[in-house]
Structure formats: C-alpha cells, structure tokens
C-alpha cells in the first residue's frame, strides 16, 4: 500500500513538472508589483532642463526644408496666450511645474501641473485601434528592467512641434521660442520615451521622435530631460487653472507679445472684484 502511494506521488509530481510553464505577467500588471517598480511615485518631479531642444541637428526631409525656407519665427508659444492653449507633448511636460506619477495595475498616469492635464499610459497593452487625435497622444508602456518605455501615437494636428533651431540660434542653456522652428507633423508621428531614475531624486526622460515627413532619421531629443524630485509637502501636486485673471502675454493671431500698463490691469481687476 505504501509502495502504491509513493508511486502515485511520484506520478503526480511528474505530471506537475510536465505542465506547460505559465508565463509571468509583466511588471506593472498587479498591485503586488508596486513594491517592485522603480519609485517614480513619491513626491513629484520638477523639470530643470530647457523646454525646447538644443542642439537640433537631424537632417530634414525635402518637405521640411521647403517649409523651413518660408518659416517665420513666433514671438512666443500659444501657451502664453489666452486660454493657455497646451503645446502638447513633449513640451507640456517641460514647462517648469512638476509632474506627478500614479500607478494602478495596467496603467501609469502622469499629472502635469502646468496644465492640470493627465497622461494615461497603458502598461503592457496595445494602442487603441483607432486613436482619436489628442495633445498627449495614445500611450502604451512597458518596463525594460528599471526603465519605463513609453510609445505614443495619435497626436493632434496642432501640437507645438519643434523641428529644430533657426541657424545660429538656440545655443543658450534655455532655448526660447523665437530661436526655434516649429511646424506641422506627419500623420504617423510617434514618440518613444525611456524614463528611469538616475539617482533617487533625479529622473530622466530620453525622447526619440519618429516622423519621416520631417526628418530623414529618428530625431533624438536633446538635452536629455531631467527632473528633480520634490518630497513631502512640496511633493504634493497643485491645481492649475490658467489665465484665471485674464492676464496673458501673447497674441498668436498677430504674433505679438503683450504687456499692458499695470495701472490699466489693476483697474480692470478691481472692477471685477466689485461685481
């Protein structure tokens, strides 16, 4: 009897080993993964690098060259105008106020304080079959070791999309809009970010842009975007309601900056207060 039981146990064990191996779910699929993920989540991340690129030396397509030949610099970005129109990706992440990361199984969200917009990155999943155009794109991501790799597609036509810098311009540590070339992107625009911790309080976001209507080869964004971590109370995100006082600084329709006499602005504000 004992011999039979032993044989049965051996048979059962053999059968278990013969079962096909169940593939482990990729990182970011379960709540238990929280402890395994790199800590993007404590506090928030404040950009400390230029919001426009420099240097930009990827060769242009003939189509882009033709566009650039007639390009007129813009005095500022539409974000500085009425309603603070978002520049979209990637510039909206770089405008100075912090980013805040959140996680749930299958998703990482990034709250962008500079607009109160939030990116939703599907982890270990697929793009929407027919993504509608958006300013942040349709994003899917996965972890390669400690690096979050995010691919975004489906962008709105009117992103503030930087091709490069005007000749001789953009050499300073922070590139300004009049120094840059902006233009339309192609229908298959794709952005790939590789996001990782450089150290516990520094996060980098390496961006490569694929658009064969603009560049002859993938565009590697420089400088590498760096963010410093705010912890504690400073790490809490704040709300952002833009132009809440109807004070703005740029008129995209005329490409002119605006500076009202402070006495005029004050009178308007005080009149509003009295209503």
């Amino acid at each position: 009897m004992i011999k039979h039981k032993a044989l049965l146990a051996i048979a059962l064990c053999s059968a278990m080993f013969a079962l096909p191996a169940v593939a482990a779910e990729p990182l970011g699929s379960n709540w238990s993964d929280v402890a395994k993920l790199p800590d993007f989540f404590t506090g928030n991340w404040q950009s400390v690098t230029s919001f426009l690129d420099n240097p930009t030396n990827v060769p242009f397509t003939a189509q882009a060259e033709a566009y650039i030949a007639h390009y007129k610099p813009i005095a500022d970005i539409p974000f500085a105008g009425a309603n603070c129109k978002t520049p979209g990706m990637p510039i909206i992440q770089r405008l100075g106020s912090p980013l805040k990361f959140f996680y749930e199984p299958g998703m990482i969200a990034i709250y962008i304080e500079n607009s109160s917009m939030t990116r939703f990155i599907t982890l270990n999943g697929e793009h929407a079959a027919r993504p509608n155009p958006t300013y942040l794109g349709d994003s899917v991501g996965h972890f390669e070791g400690d690096t979050l790799v995010v691919e975004s597609v489906g962008f709105a036509d009117d992103l503030l999309f930087q091709y490069g810098d005007l000749p001789g311009q953009g050499k300073g540590p922070f590139v300004l809009p009049p120094e840059a070339i902006f233009g339309p992107h192609g229908p298959n625009l794709r952005m790939v970010e590789r996001i990782r911790l450089v150290d516990p309080d520094t996060l980098e976001d390496r961006l490569t842009i694929y658009d064969d209507t603009v560049w002859k080869q993938p565009y590697v964004s420089t400088p590498v975007q760096l963010f410093k971590r705010n912890r504690g109370e400073d790490g809490r995100p704040h709300e952002w309601v833009c132009n809440s006082a109807n004070i703005f600084a740029f008129d995209p329709s005329t490409n002119k900056t605006i500076e009202e006499d402070p006495a005029v602005v004050l009178k308007r504000l005080q009149q509003n207060d009295n209503h």
Partner: protein, 148 residues
C-alpha cells in the same frame, strides 16, 4: 499698451528655470523681457495681490520723490510654485506696506519680475522661482545643456 521684448511667458519661464538651476543670469539677457542683471527696490502700498496662473501678480502704489503716484506690477510665479516656496494667497492684502525686490523690464515700464517681498511685519518672501528641489542649486551631471 507697451510691447516688451519678444518672449513673454516663455522668457519668464526660462528666467525662472535659470534661477532654479543656478545658471548665470546673463545667459538670457538678449531674450528675456526682464533685465536679470539689475535689481530694483520699490516701496509702496499693496493695491492687489493676485494669486493666479499662469503667473501671480503683485500691484502696488508707490510715490516718486516728487510725490507723483505710480502703479507698479510685479510678475511672480505660478500658484503651485509659489506655494512650494512658502508663499500664500493670504500673505498680502490691499493697504499693506511692502518693499519689493525685482528685476526691471527692459523697456522702462512699471512692470518687473518679482524676486522678493519684505512684508510690514518683517517677514521676507523669497525665491519667486519656486522651491528649488534638492540638488538643483548644483545641477547634476548633464543637467546643463552642453554648449555647441
């Protein structure tokens, strides 16, 4: 309406980032609307402390030596960035006496980039650029774009 040099909010953002990253202020003189190499001090009475995005504004009434009253507008950071620097919407109210430190605009108008405010009770509100996160005072390797 006066027109400043061409990069209003973006220039300010760059100036704030410059301050936060401790880069030489002179790096942006040619483009910023404010002359970061200069500082002015203006004493006056608060007319309006506007806690707002994309930027907060402090409006004060100041008297010139000849007695003429002037309205000055000082542009500050966004509400979130100011809050991280210890500022608060309730810090100032109309009638308060303040002394404002700022970088003047290039065109000589009564608009300036606010850097600090001395309140009547002696408190000093500083770092209008927002709370520099740990380590920003000394940028990590690669933080500063390499010159071409």
């Amino acid at each position: 309406m006066n027109v400043h040099c061409p990069t209003r909010i973006s220039g300010l953002a760059a100036a704030l980032l410059l301050a936060a990253a401790a880069f030489p202020a002179s790096a942006h003189h040619s483009a910023a609307p404010f002359d970061l190499s200069k500082k002015i001090s203006v004493q006056g009475t608060v007319e309006k402390w506007l806690w707002a995005n994309p930027h907060s504004w402090l409006y004060i009434r100041a008297a010139r030596p000849d007695g003429v009253q002037e309205i000055w507008g000082f542009e500050a950071g966004s509400t979130g960035m100011l809050a991280r620097s210890g500022w608060n919407a309730a810090d100032m109210k109309p009638g308060d006496k303040v002394t404002v430190g700022a970088s003047p605009s290039r065109d000589g108008s009564h608009v300036a980039l606010l850097s600090q405010v001395q309140l009547a009770d002696g408190r000093l509100l500083n770092a209008a650029a927002g709370a520099p996160p740990p380590g920003v005072g000394a940028p990590p390797p690669g933080a500063a774009p390499s010159p071409r």
